[in-house]
Symmetry: C2
Subunit: 449 residues, 2 copies
């Protein structure tokens, strides 16, 4: 027997595919996890007279946003590393803190806090890189969110494991364990060229080819990274990654702030995706990424929030606005990256980078019903000449009112809908006070090592 | 008889002056328009046992934000000029639209929409530049907002008047008329060096000196402006303004994106204030202002949203975050413009630029009670290591929960508090649909000229 139909009835639907389409007074019919079809309201009423209806006057329905790069658990470290550059931030602040805190409990609580924030901001899928990915998976599953989990690879040991081989083994085991959960997918996640040896990177290449997994890696984030690589390896990081077989269509290059024209040509030619994280790049003083040149070359660019310790806000819609403004301002070309292109960047581009372009990222029949309805009725959003411009340039994430992941209505009127999800986040927010005290003690040197 | 005392009881108070101060569990006692004192909660309970109490757990109280540059009425043009550079944006889109629309009704309705947005985002004072400033004043007064009104000067005629002399006469008359309204103050507002003749600029200088008024002017916004000025006058605009006597401590230079080291030295030496509008500069492709160099020179920098047609969001808190991130990212110095400095920029710096530094901009005894309470209790704002960092880098304007202007509680639980203000904004939002239809018709060429 077929699943019952629900009709979502917003004022506007922007399906992203076909491009530049704004449907007015259309319904989207969903059943179970999937989109059945998009059709004019009158036709929908006639074809599905028995369907449940969800009228959303003044709302814009779009595909769910895809956060292409984050370390969700760092939500517990929100604001501990302001006003520091990447290297001291990592070496003097973040890594020492993580060394003291790392545990499944820390990772789970941070990820719950992050998932709650992301979902209520219209993000339905996130690409994570962190230790204890099983704890991130538990958080995402508990809140009904789609996640691409990082099988992390880094040379140094941690509470999670003894080193690269151990991390890989554990990550692959998790992947087997979650094989039947369609919301959980995986990337190989070597941390960065500077923190993973040639041998371990080669192992990543082998596994990626064998298993058909995307590779999620920080690349060319700072000028210092390039200098250090030349000193240590005689070449820039991208050249080294290329030699090791990591520059291909399944690669997600995070940041790519410092890239020469030849390197950009290489990325374009190989079909590499870029995860652009403008707030993090700016906040750490890393620089301004050459986004106009990426777009010119047709590189697939998605957006990432990065973690809360370098942002400090997991707000992908805000990231999109900054991406557009920064590209216009730094290139002097006011015409680039218009709002419609930005919505593609926020959704389908991210989905494609994760190898999920056939399942999510646009509102089309037979795709998964991962969707957000933005309420554009606020006084501060009037008048609405173009709902997509309004979404990118005027609305904030607070406009995200209703969210569905794989057909499940997870956010309703800006709140998590399931009682279990509400209870869990309340518990975690209460525990956050404990984490805060502990972390504050470490920061002030008051705690035993 | 003395006015009754009200005790506001937030979790944190950041008075801005003295700098870097965070008061925890303190009360602020206000009476009538004024701040009486700040004191520890226990002491306040003892000293003012009869006072009305407003407990605000989890809230951060700061001075009201000062929007140092806007054209508030352009709220009705929000989103009509996306993806265009300043010159075509002005000449092909904004000026032709304004020529068709300009009227006291257009200016009033746009300003009401803008004041509602600004107030609910924590802005208590705005510095406006537009035609029909009396209509802007009416809007601000109706909503209980403080305004610095521009006595506009521009060479071309409009529905408002026949030219510079007429604009000056009307603006000065308005100033006389509103002499007894302490919330309404004035700037002379010559539009820009390229739109005001030497003769008219000289007249501005004379009046500014005579009347002790600040001068509010767009300066060095785009590279094109410099080229055009050299062609027409043989010098860059700042040099010309300097010759005409407009570069002094009462000058508010808006934008100042393209400025040489010598020009920055001049601005610093003369005590000019800068109204920094990063979103507008980026969106119009004007460039990235050298904010790090302003700060290094100790120039007084405030923030402006600019108008809704080039932003498209009158969100000064968001402007501050972008200002910080952009300064860090473009200079490569992650350590500059920390959150406490930003809060000073948002408040006291703007107040000083307007000549109001002795009345608003910080929470001190005998100053006006212009204040905002930001609710930092949202899940997405946990944990709170430093409430000021959280305000600037994590919270959005949606956290602005309670707002006072001159002791009057104008926003309560994120809504305008006065019934009259609510009624007016509801009426104006309804009329916005009419404006939208009319403007859409003009844009699509469907309306008679």
């Amino acid at each position: 027997m077929s699943e019952p139909i629900t009709l979502i009835q917003p004022e506007w639907i922007v399906p992203v595919e076909p491009a530049l389409t704004v449907l007015r007074d259309h319904d989207i019919a969903i059943a179970g996890e999937l989109i059945v079809e998009l059709l004019p309201r009158a036709a929908a009423e006639e074809r599905y007279p028995q369907a449940q209806r969800i009228p959303l006057p003044g709302h814009l329905l779009t595909p769910g946003l895809v956060n292409l790069h984050t370390h969700s658990s760092m939500a517990l470290l929100r604001g501990v590393g302001d006003d520091m550059a990447l290297k001291p931030w990592l070496e003097e602040r973040i890594w020492p803190l993580e060394a003291r805190l790392m545990s499944p409990e820390f990772v789970f609580d941070g990820a719950v806090l992050a998932c709650d924030e992301m979902l209520r901001g219209g993000i339905t899928c996130f690409n994570d890189m962190y230790f204890f990915p099983e704890a991130v998976a538990d958080a995402a599953r508990a809140l009904g969110m789609r996640a691409s989990l990082g099988i992390i690879v880094v040379d140094f040991p941690s509470a999670y494991g003894s080193g690269a081989a151990d991390y890989l083994r554990k990550g692959l085991e998790l992947r087997d364990r979650l094989d039947d959960d369609r919301l959980m997918t995986f990337c190989l996640a070597p941390h960065a060229p500077y923190s993973v040896s040639d041998e371990n990177l080669r192992q990543v290449t082998t596994l990626a080819n064998e298993l058909g997994l995307p590779i999620h890696i920080h690349v060319h984030e700072t000028a210092q990274e390039l200098t250090d690589s030349i000193k240590r390896y005689g070449v820039r990081p991208l050249a080294r990654l290329d030699e090791l077989g990591l520059v291909g269509p399944d690669t997600i290059a995070v940041h790519a702030v410092h890239t020469s024209a030849a390197e950009l040509d290489l990325l374009a030619e190989r079909g590499v995706s870029i995860a652009h994280c403008p707030h993090s790049n700016l906040k750490l003083g890393s620089g301004i990424a050459p986004a106009a040149e990426w777009l010119e070359r047709g590189i697939n660019v998605g957006l990432g929030t990065d973690g809360s310790a370098s942002n400090n806000r997991l707000d992908l819609l805000g990231e999109a606005r900054t991406a557009a403004l920064l590209a216009k301002g730094s290139s002097g070309r006011a015409d680039i990256w218009n709002a419609h292109q930005l919505l593609h960047t926020l959704t389908l581009a991210g989905a494609r980078a994760l190898g999920l372009g056939d399942r999510i990222g646009s509102l089309e029949a037979a795709k998964s019903a991962d969707m957000v309805a933005f309420d554009l009725r606020g006084n501060e959003l009037q008048p609405v000449y173009d709902p997509v411009s309004q979404l990118i340039h005027a609305a904030g994430r607070a406009a995200a009112a209703e969210v569905w992941v794989a057909g499940r209505h997870v956010v309703q009127m800006r709140q998590l809908r399931a009682q279990s999800a509400q209870t869990l986040t309340t518990e975690v927010v209460a525990r956050t006070r404990m984490w805060q005290n502990r972390i504050s003690d470490i920061l002030s040197g008051n705690s035993a090592p």
